[in-house]
Symmetry: D2
Subunit: 351 residues, 4 copies
């Protein structure tokens, strides 16, 4: 029986508690939150689970095998580091930390101690994203051309992080999972419309070695909710609409063929292909259940998580690079230069 | 009776012919196209209209009062200039020319001769865009926050211009019409997925003096057609969906209010407003009919067109700046520096 | 402190328990279900609430003031009657009973004892339906022309009742609430596609004294979920789409005007009006919370519930009439003839 | 070279003219319309085509091989009969005539003379309906369960026929084409909301020998346009949305399976299947072009049209039965009893 403790019972904590509670051969032993009023939820719904207001009690408890961290982002690093140093496996809500330097320190600590460091990139465990990865891996879309995503809605303004760290993080983690290559550079813009609040609108372009490109727009100030990702390829194209209740992934047999029978550009002929449309059945299992189970399984078997510390670091690196670019209104930033120092990554730390 | 000649009878020419043909007290006298096979359309449908294969015949005809230019973009400048020099009023399909320098030359010539130089930014004459301008002018949306537009579909790849000059031009002309201020700078990326074909995907961000920002994505390689523009403001927000058959403009009483009862950022409280939604009735008149009528009216009354040479120049300036930025993968380009020399604007000229 | 007991903890029971639990100055004292395994849910989530397997224990408990009945439909009547005879106020899940005769008996018993008999027509308490009633009452749509509703999806096949009693009941209860007049007659068809299962598809037409007509289609075997109701009137028309997450009610300034300047039908001229579209903001309160509160309020104040026994009887009368018509493949049945005897209403009683 | 004349150049006539004009080895020789102002359209667009105001001139012209009739419905029969008697092949706009008796007379005359009698059920020639027929024929949907169609919008009120003859005729012709069996009986209701205008709303249920059922709602007074047909089967289900611009036909691997391991109804277990969704590519050819070509081909080869007189008669029989049922507010009418006499079919004849 593996014993797990959860630190943080805010917006997302209850979902983590519910899913770890039901993992077989796992005991969710204790939940911590600095706000004692949040712990009533645990008392009422999970009377067998202990509660504390200081997360360090969990980290210091020798009976605990693994710690789940669901606090505000600024606290991820210090809690995760202490938990690793105390010999615990660690599951951290996305994003893993606030900078590449922090991520590197966590990766190093986990490796040195042989512990699992897990980033909860939860979208990676949805049936939709898993199917998309499968389609790309099988070559169904051909050469990938682009990933173009809009993730916009009204609110919820975060207090500690801007819209890139809140919303774009999902697209970046999906990209890191589905694409065999990683980006070389980034261009981003970031905009604040409500004085005193976090920047609420951003556009990010990621450049790769090939002509593949990723473009992401995020916005907390949209009158309508949109969660639509287009993935273009040379053979087929995918529309992933996460709001659609029944068919989130549709595959289009569409594309362009180019003929150049002559010698010059003038002779180029383009023809358009449009065939069937297909909506594959997706696994219905809750993503967070699968994510929790994967973390537990990696602890037991020693397997490397698909969303390990390196994956968490890569996503943070893209965001850190995007923040640098945004401060220069879109200037291209080479990602291999990101992470050598402590960046100003836009995370607001409490006093 | 005003006599009009049309040069160019390709994709868009028939629409121009149809609409100029029906203007009251206007005689559509002659149509030119280098491809004689295109002129059969004129013979069959407008037997009273003469046809020629050389547009210079129209420009050289003293009986013609006004010339409508609907050729490939690269020919706009020289034909428009010659027509102005021959004393004709000129109506040019968007974009006005391939560079700011060209636009300046046309504006100068028209002004010196007291002739109307008209850019056919046709979306400006739609009921939807006119209503949006009215809502902004009346203060219905409050302070404008952003314009965010997606204009994507499969094809039609243009041979002579890339996707910015083909699709983004619409958004830029709408912006120039509806916004009281003009942008200061631009960041853009441009991507080519089909070797030998024109670049097919772009993202453009326009920076303004205020926190208002415009973001535009265009793509010829999307499996689905999207024409959706969001316009955010402090009081209300607009969704303009040009594909929606019945209600293209919807106005949302949505927004965010910020309270800061205390002294620090920690005390900020955000509340969300969501009230009624409203879809105003739009004028149904065909945009091109209104555009043609406006051109004719300006000739008759001496009024300045709402889409005059300066408006055409401004749109070209944004695109020329976007091209410069795109060649540097998104670097911010100050728009007041654009236009001092002949840029490489991505327009392909035939051999 | 009013003491309430709930009989039945199946599909809908947990929602009733949650909402009665939170009513102010109400004690949800006890829940009954014949299936003891269902009671674990109560233990886990509401440890202060007692549980029993025999609903008669609740009815026989003198400390209980009101009984909520959420059992299979066939048991509604006998439980509700016994509860009334034991002096309890009664809240019955829709439909109130299986026949008009049963409804009359319950109404009579409640009236004789001065008790509240409440039918939980829960849609009546939604923000959408309340707004629609307000619009009709205010004359916003003019003379009502029709109510046309499609309520279809895949499953959930009920074991004890057919699709009319499961899905059409919602439309009939909405109609009874929003329309000032009640129907005179009904024509219905009912179809069974899965041998051994309940009939899964039906169409119902209700005739009124005026030219107003209601038409309802319901289906458990549709590949897509649709919950769309059109309400036409002489001045405006309403589309109520209960699946739409954000704007469930849209009001269209659309209609037809008729001119007859001459004397005969030949001279009739029809013109079409199409103006603005408007989506009023709707109350967000959960319908079942409002319904539970209304029941409690009626007990305290002696007010007549808007969904009282008569309303419950009217809905059952329409369904009983529809069943008679359906057995004759659509023959018109006068509703004032329904209810004089025990009908074969298609409710399956357990052995 | 086959010579064709068209009688009637109203709403639909121009489409017929355009499509017959382009058929190879066919000469569209002459168009007739009693309203001479309609003939200007022909002069302007088809200067080689002669025009007359009296359709009898076409019927009496020995050089004409085939006559296309696109007049108001009430005139179909007499014109078609005269054209057949004059030895012409006849193409009649839907519906073929106003009663079964009329249809029988036309069928008899055509058979006696060996002429083609063609009913223009144009939807039968769309890529969508052809694909649906193919799917049913191949057994892709399994046993057909139902056809459920909504065909509603605002206007266009017809002057001579009610909404059944204007809109439901499309569904009835599609049913006659795609289903291997023909209906036994009909129940219908018909409603008039605008005094002096034709009845504008109807619901029709068609009963078959099997449990298959067809249900159709039509309405000229809907605020929104809907053209959605659901076709349920034991294996798969089809959604045919004729408004959808890109994917009109979607096939759902959805259904219900029933297990009855025990002996009684109590033991029935229902399970739900939901697999992939698939949108087959549809032929893009214009339906009316295909229809015109099919008529011409049948004249040349002697083949029986798929929409011959019998098909036209069957659709009229369903509508005539529906009218009888509607006058009795939905009473079931056996279709084999329809057509023995001249019915009151709701067609308004001019004075």
């Amino acid at each position: 029986m593996l014993k797990v403790g959860v630190i943080g019972c805010g917006y997302w904590g209850p979902n983590l508690i519910r899913n770890f509670y039901k993992q077989p051969d796992v005991e969710l032993a204790v939940v911590a939150d600095v706000d004692a009023s949040r712990l009533g939820f645990v008392h009422d719904n999970y009377p067998t689970v202990a509660t504390v207001t200081d997360g360090m009690e969990i980290i210091g408890d020798p009976a605990i095998d693994a710690v789940v961290i669901a606090t505000p982002v600024a606290a991820h690093f210090s809690l995760a580091l202490k938990a690793l140093q105390a010999g615990k496996h660690v599951f951290v809500e996305k994003p893993l930390a606030t900078s590449v330097v922090e991520c590197d320190r966590l990766i190093e600590e986990a490796a040195a101690r042989g512990l699992v460091l897990y980033t909860d990139h939860v979208f990676v465990h949805t049936g939709a994203v898993r199917k998309i990865k499968q389609l790309i891996d099988e070559g169904a879309i051909g050469d990938p051309y682009y990933y173009d995503s809009a993730r916009i809605n009204l609110g919820l303004f975060q207090r500690d992080v801007n819209v890139i760290w809140d919303l774009a993080v999902h697209d970046l983690s999906i990209l890191d999972y589905i694409m065999p290559q990683r980006p070389k550079a980034v261009s981003a813009t970031l905009h604040q419309h409500v004085p005193g609040a976090q920047p609420n609108m951003a556009a990010i372009t990621l450049f790769y070695e090939t002509s593949f490109v990723a473009h992401i727009t995020v916005n907390w100030m949209s009158p309508v909710k949109v969660r639509r990702t287009l993935i273009g390829g040379s053979r087929q194209m995918i529309v992933y609409d996460d709001i659609e209740p029944s068919q989130k992934v549709m595959v289009y047999e569409k594309g362009v063929d180019l003929f150049n029978p002559g010698s010059g550009d003038e002779d180029i002929r383009i023809s358009y292909r449009a065939g069937d449309v297909w909506g594959p059945k997706l696994e219905g299992r809750e993503a967070l259940d699968r994510s929790a189970a994967h973390f537990i399984d990696c602890i037991r078997t020693g397997a490397q998580p698909i969303t390990d510390g390196h994956s968490g670091r890569e996503v943070v690196r893209m965001m850190e690079g995007a923040m640098v670019s945004a401060r220069m209104d879109g200037q291209r930033i080479e990602l291999d230069r990101v992470g050598s120092g402590v960046g100003r990554t836009g995370i607001r730390r409490s006093a």
